[in-house]
């Protein structure tokens, strides 16, 4: 890792690690170690990049310790543990590579903090598959964008970058895009085009989106539906109009955020998105796109898949990887008391707190993370893309970004700490 190097005062084209659409056009100034987003920031990136570098030291049971002592204590916890859980996984590809090595060596369970959402997607991928697209295709090709159960506001520059972009490859006037929202509590204001064209909002409860999509599927398939005036509170005439739009568009996209579809069996709603998308491709082009995998979620899931052969929620305790999307969820593992030690990793967002499990706990988190309890070991870690270089994989699971080092930090990276634990266990 490159540390203590002399860093340019202003860096351009800086990739942002803080949400999974990873904008990479930021201009960031380093003034005596304090960072300022000069251009192309958003509320998330400005808040995170501009947080001062917090001072903190490793601690064992709340008492200050050296890094060596803390690492050795952490290794001791792993050595005593029969079934460790490595969770959070808020790190980059490099950190995750080290986590995989540790998990394999210690027979751990691995899970990411946002995987409840990703697991819904994975269930559909493993059962049905899907037709998907990427940000670059949406930006240049989409004529109809349906936001299903999300308004994409957790990804502040999504509209600027791929919906209302001024130029597109195929001389298509992006301001003419048809934007549709399905669901409730959605801020549809960003769906208004720069020329004032308003989006359509079909309001329904989140857990009834599935029904709406089913009816749309029947309509685009030319099937008869029961004669009803409305479905989930939406007028049938509006659905008939949307079904026609979906059939007639040259390139349509359904956008969902699996983490925002938070109700029992929401994977069936996602399955509906994927089924109708596949069906529409018999005649036209249509694709899905999901927004998720913040805090390194996409990177963690991909590294797990290539190194173990399985996406996340893997248990190595038998010496080989076992994958189960429900059984190895952090909440289940802790509730069922299946783990006897916890390593929690969160190197991006100081607001994220580790679960307070009553088992020996090691926390690798940013220095300014406020904990509700004193873990057995705390090690402040540096942030990828701020304090050190690295790579992260974007939400479309295709493009990955080379992260830059913007300032010098005394805190080690997750990759470094976990590697040192690997050497000791």
């Amino acid at each position: 890792m490159k540390t203590k190097q002399s860093l340019a005062k202003v860096q351009k084209d800086v990739p942002c690690p803080f949400c999974s659409i990873h904008c990479d056009d930021l201009v960031i100034q380093n003034q005596s170690g304090k960072l300022k987003v000069k251009e192309n920031g958003c509320p998330i990136s400005v808040e995170r990049f501009e947080r001062p570098l917090a001072q903190s030291t490793p601690a064992i049971n709340g008492k200050t310790a050296t890094l060596d002592e803390a690492i050795s204590q952490a290794a001791g916890i792993f050595k005593k543990s029969v079934e460790p859980l490595i969770a959070g996984l808020g790190t980059d590809v490099g950190g995750m590579r080290s986590v995989m090595e540790l998990a394999d060596k210690t027979g751990s369970i691995i899970d990411h903090m946002h995987h409840d959402g990703a697991a819904r997607n994975m269930l559909v991928l493993q059962d049905l598959g899907w037709v998907m697209t990427t940000m670059g295709e949406i930006r240049n090709r989409a004529e109809l964008i349906i936001f299903a159960g999300t308004d994409a506001s957790n990804y502040p520059r999504f509209y600027e970058r791929v919906v209302w972009n001024e130029q597109s490859m195929f001389n298509y006037d992006t301001a003419k895009r048809d934007i549709v929202y399905i669901g409730e509590n959605l801020d549809t204001s960003r769906g208004k085009s720069p020329t004032g064209k308003k989006p359509t909002h079909l309001k329904c409860p989140q857990d009834e989106i599935s029904e709406v999509i089913s009816v749309l599927h029947a309509l685009v398939g030319g099937n008869k539906t029961q004669k009803k005036d409305e479905i989930a509170g939406i007028k049938m005439a509006h659905l008939e109009k949307l079904a026609e739009q979906m059939k007639n568009t040259r390139y349509g996209v359904i956008v969902w955020a699996p983490g925002e579809l938070d109700f029992p069996h929401a994977e069936l709603t996602i399955q509906n998105f994927c089924e109708i998308t596949k069906y529409l491709n018999r005649e036209t082009r249509f694709a899905g796109f999901f927004l998720g995998g913040n805090d390194g979620g996409m990177s963690a899931n991909n590294v797990s898949a290539w190194q173990s052969g399985f996406p996340l929620r893997v248990n190595f305790s038998k010496g080989y990887p076992e994958h189960d999307l429900q059984k190895y969820a952090t909440a289940n593992v802790l509730k069922n008391k299946e783990a006897d030690a916890l390593l929690w990793i969160s190197s991006f967002n100081p607001e994220i707190k580790p679960p307070h499990a009553k088992i020996p706990t090691i926390v690798l988190a940013t220095a300014d993370t406020k904990l509700d309890f004193k873990p057995d070991v705390f090690i402040p870690v540096s942030t990828p893309g701020v304090d050190h270089s690295g790579q992260m994989i974007r939400t479309d699971s295709v493009v990955s970004l080379p992260l830059k080092q913007l300032r010098n930090s005394d805190n080690p990276s997750v990759k470094e700490v976990v590697r040192r634990i690997v050497e000791l266990v």
């Binding site: 990479d24 590579r97 697209t133 990427t134 670059g136 295709e137 090709r141 991909n302 290539w306 052969g309």
Partner: protein, 551 residues
């Protein structure tokens, strides 16, 4: 450290050595001349009666990148049947259709392979492909960047930009993505599918750009040639899997007017329309054309029976094939106005007429193409079968009676419509050494690999000379990588990191000006972040870069 491999029977086609007893010396990772009698030898392996070849090279195997990772995520039920436990030396993982990177590296080495090449690296996904390849231990890797459906190239071609500018772009792509060669997949067809075109013949126009696959192949083949890229343009042609595509393939061979061309997984492109089922073998015609055109090389993409997964950049043909998915799930992706991918699990059945004939067509190609320097052993892993089936395939080629026994078990109509039973040819060990070592190394421009001459990298495989060639090639006695013993009796004994072969062709750097403004206007990543630094490949400490020279 000086190692002597003493008295083995050597097959080294580059030097014309065909089964002669020779001693081989290894010093500092390289093969070296016989030292003076006064020099102490640190370690001697007595290899009398053993067969020695250079480490094998798989020049077309989908081992890394987004589509392989989609296959991994999608198929837990396949992987659960082949779980691999951790050992004190090796990491856990899983095998079969889309193995974990770690298991893939170990299994290649355990089978005597020391290098494998990912043939379909999407520029948009190149960084991930390199990360996955770096996590594939021991073996050397490399990748071919996929062009031909990318908007930047198609608009240059449509605007009739001069050939030199296009070559500059191709040179830039090879540098930016750390590639070793260029591949084209369904030329322009991945783009056409995004405009909802469902088929694209060699002379059919992409409806937006007005370009044809023929234009694309000619232009890219020239560019690759002009840049001095050793490996010819690597072509996955139009109409993959379509009955009657034998004509497309013949026309493709003729389209380049003598320029070097490599046609990949040609089995999937050698189908006629004869017979009751309007599906027949075109292998004889293809083999005749390959034999007659010394500028053409092929790899086969042999089908072997069982469950696998097909993973391809050819979205147009993968969409058409999804109806046959087994199990019934499949993925298609449109990617960054650059390319795409389709992942469709598939089970080849020996009693199914089409699958059985595909099996026979592949073998016909192997046996009817005369020159083993121009035909390479591949299953297009995992598309025709997982790479772990290579030893079985080698036995099919080397053992006529075994082949005929297998032929008698497949679908009767398919067997009857194939000429396979009437072909007597058997591959020799020398032929196998050519097609799995010498020829792919030569084709890729790897001068100090694929042979056992002094100065060559000591990637060496030693086999027990067993009559059952499947057994022989399954578990080599010894495998040396960079001069270190890494596998013994088909088991890893040492884990090392492999390198990544790349090419850095010269091009006019001023092309970056137009590329930069193009990226700023249309792409979702900045030009500077699209490019992959050497540092990124080496910084995790699990790989190094090997720069190969241009011709």
């Amino acid at each position: 450290m000086l190692i002597k491999l003493s008295g083995g029977t050597v097959y080294d086609p580059v030097h014309g050595i065909n089964g002669e007893q020779r001693d081989i010396y290894i010093r500092d990772g390289q093969i070296t001349r016989r030292p003076a009698a006064t020099v102490d030898i640190d370690k001697t392996y007595d290899l009398k009666g053993k067969v020695i070849m250079a480490g094998a090279i798989d020049m077309h195997t989908h081992i890394g990148g987004g589509k392989v990772n989609i296959a991994r995520m999608m198929l837990p039920e396949d992987h659960r049947q082949d779980l691999v436990s951790r050992t004190p030396l090796t990491r856990s993982g899983c095998g079969h259709a889309a193995p974990s990177t770690l298991t893939a590296g170990y299994r290649y080495v355990e089978m005597g392979y020391t290098a494998c090449f990912e043939p379909a690296m999407l520029p948009a996904n190149a960084r991930q492909a390199h990360m996955e390849m770096a996590d594939t231990p021991i073996v050397d890797k490399g990748a071919y960047a996929m062009l031909g459906s990318d908007d930047f190239f198609l608009r240059m071609l449509a605007a009739k930009k001069d050939q030199e500018a296009i070559a500059d772009y191709v040179g830039w792509i090879i540098n930016a993505t750390q590639a070793l060669a260029i591949k084209v997949v369904n030329p322009g067809g991945i783009s056409a599918f995004k405009f909802n075109q469902r088929k694209l013949d060699l002379d059919e126009k992409n409806e937006y750009y007005g370009t044809t696959p023929r234009d694309i192949i000619k232009c890219l083949a020239r560019a690759v040639n002009e840049l001095g890229v050793p490996h010819p343009l690597h072509v996955h042609g139009c109409n993959l899997g379509v009955p009657g595509n034998v004509q497309t393939t013949l026309d493709t061979i003729n389209s380049v007017e003598g320029l070097p061309l490599h046609l990949t997984h040609t089995q999937f492109h050698s189908y006629g329309t004869e017979g009751d089922r309007q599906f027949s073998s075109g292998a004889a015609e293809i083999a005749e054309a390959v034999n007659a055109n010394p500028n053409i090389s092929i790899d086969v993409g042999q089908v072997l029976f069982g469950q696998t997964v097909t993973a391809s950049g050819d979205t147009m043909r993968q969409y058409a094939g999804h109806w046959h998915a087994h199990p019934k799930k499949w993925v298609l992706m449109d990617i960054e106005c650059d390319a795409g991918c389709g992942v469709v699990p598939f089970k080849y059945r020996d009693k199914n007429f089409v699958n059985a004939l595909q099996w026979a067509i592949g073998l016909e190609l192997f046996l009817l193409v005369n020159d083993p320097w121009r035909i390479f052993l591949t299953t297009d892993h995992p598309n025709g079968a997982p790479f772990t089936s290579y030893p079985h395939l080698i036995r099919l080629l080397m053992d006529r009676s075994f082949r005929n026994d297998m032929l008698s078990t497949i679908n009767k109509d398919a067997a009857a419509s194939s000429v396979l039973g009437s072909i007597d040819r058997e591959y020799s060990l020398y032929d196998i050494a050519i097609m799995t070592r010498a020829a792919p190394a030569r084709s890729l421009g790897l001068k100090n690999r694929g042979h056992l001459g002094s100065g060559s990298i000591a990637d060496i495989t030693v086999y027990n000379n067993v009559k059952n060639r499947e057994k022989m090639f399954e578990k080599p006695l010894y495998v040396f990588k960079d001069g270190e013993l890494v596998a013994k009796n088909g088991k890893i004994v040492k884990v090392t990191t492999g390198g990544t072969h790349v090419l850095k062709p010269e091009y006019d750097k001023s092309i970056e000006r137009s590329l930069k403004s193009y990226f700023d206007k249309y792409q979702t990543i900045k030009l500077g972040n699209f490019k992959i630094d050497d540092d990124e490949i080496v910084e995790h400490g699990n790989g190094h870069i090997i720069v190969q020279p241009c011709t």
